[in-house]
């Protein structure tokens, strides 16, 4: 029997989320050329040699994960797509991962010596922790592997594994260093947040189609994969950050992001609140004004309910 080739019709949606995420991703499209990285040249010169080596290594590690997601991860999710629009969204995700991987090379060519960068790429190939986490994820991306477990692996890469690396440019930015580089990394962080959210959402749609026993199996799998990855991440983190004394600070950030990755899959948090207290300077570098002003515990007299104004749909579009 011949299969019919089908054209994608965006005017007939099976899942509104596909169009919502497509619109979000396409509006957010960017290229590294948009960021004036050369303004960081002077700042780069103020870093000590060990700090520079750390930064190049961290970015090389991130490049490796983006490469995996670009050439294996996102394409491997396509055959499992339930809607044609989902495949289109995944093709956007795959391409943006290529943009992310390419961006680190823009940072390198702007700030670093070729020799230092070549050394870091060699380091990435030989680093046991980096290789171990890539191997664990790639195992789930293999052809014939479980489609829902593949989504779990993808969400963990997008929403958890990147953060041991993302910490560093946020840290530099909080100390007014490499601020343009941090702007570029924030664009990557924004994209990865949408990717993790979307694949996690599709995972939850997939869960609705399976029975209790299978759901329990997937949840067990997700938590044990998280444990395995976390174990590698804490070693990787210690190896990178012990030298500048930031390991414990990075680990709080890892716990916080591990919980968010699990939430993207619809699961509850793994790490308790007391080990997730991220350095406020890092949170502020991620999102300015993101501290909660605890309105609840205020006196209640610091505000006045004003007269409500007349509103129309178009008033809200900003």
């Amino acid at each position: 029997m011949q299969t019919v080739a089908r054209a994608i019709n965006w005017n007939r949606l099976d899942d509104d989320k596909d169009l919502e995420v497509w619109n979000r991703l396409t509006v957010n499209f960017w290229l590294p050329e948009k960021v004036p990285l050369s303004n960081d040249v002077q700042s780069w010169g103020t870093l000590r040699p060990a700090e520079r080596e750390l930064t190049i290594r961290v970015f090389t590690g991130l490049t490796l994960l983006d490469t995996v997601q670009n050439i294996v991860g996102a394409p491997s999710l396509m055959p499992d797509a339930i809607t044609p629009h989902e495949e289109a969204v995944l093709s956007n995700i795959a391409f943006m991962e290529a943009v992310h991987a390419r961006s680190y090379s823009s940072i390198f060519s702007t700030l670093c010596l070729t020799k230092e960068v070549d050394e870091a790429f060699r380091w990435a190939e030989e680093n046991p922790h980096l290789q171990a986490k890539a191997r664990l994820i790639l195992e789930e991306y293999k052809a014939g592997a479980d489609p829902l477990k593949r989504k779990i692996a993808s969400v963990f890469l997008e929403s958890f594994l990147f953060y041991s690396g993302f910490y560093l440019p946020m840290y530099w930015s909080s100390r007014a260093k490499l601020t343009n580089t941090a702007d570029l990394i924030r664009l990557i962080i924004r994209d990865e947040a949408v990717h993790g959210y979307y694949v996690g959402y599709k995972f939850q749609r997939g869960l609705e189609r399976v029975g209790e026993a299978r759901r329990a199996e997937l949840k067990d799998f997700a938590f044990s994969l998280m444990f395995e990855l976390y174990d590698i991440e804490q070693r990787y983190t210690a190896e990178l950050y012990d030298g500048i004394g930031l390991t414990e600070d990075v680990k709080a950030f890892l716990h916080y992001n591990a919980n968010k990755a699990l939430q993207n899959l619809g699961y509850e948090a793994l790490f308790p609140a007391q080990v997730c207290e991220v350095n406020p300077a890092i949170l502020a570098a991620l999102s300015p004004d993101s501290e909660n002003h605890d309105f609840f515990s205020g006196s209640g007299s610091s505000y006045v309910i004003g007269k409500a104004v007349a509103t129309e749909d178009e008033d809200w579009d900003f």
């Binding site: 939850q204 999102s287 004003g306 129309e312």
Partner: protein, 137 residues
């Protein structure tokens, strides 16, 4: 205690937060065809954010429809925003837009489906908020 209304898209993050809160809450329907919940007492709105990189479209369409009714808007006493700090300056932006538009306070903000700390803060806060929402009128 003020009543609660919330919006949650198909991803269900805000719905999971509300379920863990364990307080009665009215859900604003996603589909335009479905009727809006009847609200006749002061309430707090819990609303996630869907902004693009420029902050456009932060408030979900269904929430705009809900708040475009002046009677409902007059009963709104505060807003709790959901979002993700990874979106930088647009984190929980919908709450800020609504707070500015309707001149009500942002009571709290949380990420995704919220943490246990968020649940405790909001539960305790809504108790405390009882009564306060009328003192300033």
């Amino acid at each position: 205690m003020a009543g609660l209304a919330y919006y949650s898209s198909a991803s269900g993050n805000t719905a999971r937060f509300v379920a863990r809160l364990g307080l009665p809450a009215l859900r604003i329907p996603i589909a335009p065809a479905h009727p809006m919940p009847a609200i006749d007492a002061p309430f707090v709105l819990i609303c996630p954010t869907y902004a693009d990189g420029e902050g456009r479209g932060a408030v979900p369409k269904a929430v705009i429809r809900f708040l475009n009714d002046p009677r409902r808007r007059a009963l709104l006493r505060g807003v709790i925003g959901a979002g993700n700090r990874n979106f930088g300056a647009t984190y929980a932006l919908a709450a800020r837009v609504i707070a500015d538009k309707c001149t009500v306070p942002i009571l709290w903000r949380f990420e995704l489906a919220g943490t246990d700390t968020d649940i405790q803060k909001v539960r305790a806060g809504l108790q405390h908020f009882r009564g306060l929402e009328c003192l300033t009128v």
